[in-house]
Amino acid sequence: MSAPTPAEADPGDDDDDDALVLAAARRGDAAAFGKLVMRHQASLRRQLRHLVRGSDGVADELAQDAFVLAWRRLGEFRGEARFSTWLHRIAYRRFLMHVRAQASRVELVETSEPEPAPAETAAEADVDLARRIDVERALARLPDTQRLALFHCFQLELSHEEAAGVLGMPLGTLKSHVARGKARLREALAAWAPAHGVDA
């Protein structure tokens, strides 16, 4: 299992430093806000690329919009949640606005087939890539609520509370979606279970 880089896997490690940079940004220091952008861009773009499936360009535009909105609303951030969680919430709301503007309900209501995996032939020789592709496909077949709950909890490394806040749903509802999603994934990804030779 590949270990994620500390900055990405655990943005909480930067919470103290975030607070210092954030204080400068709130005084109107755009350069300080730039540091926050650099620190959190990968996570936010990953979130939006998952939400906007099939268009990395649109996802990045929405991520930019989210950061600009965050810059304008810095005064509203009360520190009740982690800064990264607040950013993810803004990004998710920006995504919902985008969906409404596109008058497209496909992304949220229906379960679409996953995009064809790039370099699939190479994946046969690359266990990590094959695993990722299998998981992406299995996630894509879940109802959106379950998919989003699992993605935010296990691929963005948010706590249940944070994920519920980002997705705007009660904690109990989120936990229910996580449990149901896990039950379905357990069947879909049974080939990757320890009994089949994968260390957990």
Binding site: G28, A42, Q64, R131, A163
Partner: protein, 126 residues
């Protein structure tokens, strides 16, 4: 607030622990910045000539101090006017005063008028 991280969300002995590990391991690869942060910076950069909130606050503070300073001058002007009135009263009621013989009241009135006019003009200009 330091929320519980998702690492601890699986119960010990949870038979889906392998699934959680699989989901984490299969997360999309990290994205290089590739100019993304610079693009955001360009969007939030303040165009030249645009007043920033900090500058607007500073300007408002300066204006407030200027108004307060003018208020002080107005009070000073009123006091000078009262002094002039008192001096004029001492000069004698109802008697014709020859400015050439006793120029003090006339000079005082002239000075007071000048001060009041200056105050009025300076307030108008500011």
């Amino acid at each position: 607030m330091t929320p519980t991280r998702s690492e601890s969300q699986g119960e010990p002995g949870d038979e889906t622990a392998w699934l959680e590990a699989l989901l984490r391991a299969a997360r999309p690869p990290d994205l290089d910045d590739a100019g993304f942060s610079a693009a955001v910076q360009a969007r939030i950069a303040v165009p030249k000539g645009t007043v920033t909130p900090a500058a607007a606050l500073a300007a408002a503070g300066q204006a407030e101090r200027r108004v307060r300073r003018h208020g002080h001058w107005t009070i000073a002007g009123a006091l000078v006017g009262a002094l002039v009135a008192a001096l004029a009263a001492q000069a004698g009621p109802g008697t014709a005063v020859d400015p050439a013989a006793n120029p003090a009241p006339a000079l005082a009135l002239l000075a007071a008028s000048t001060v009041l006019a200056w105050l009025a003009i300076s307030r108008k200009l500011n």
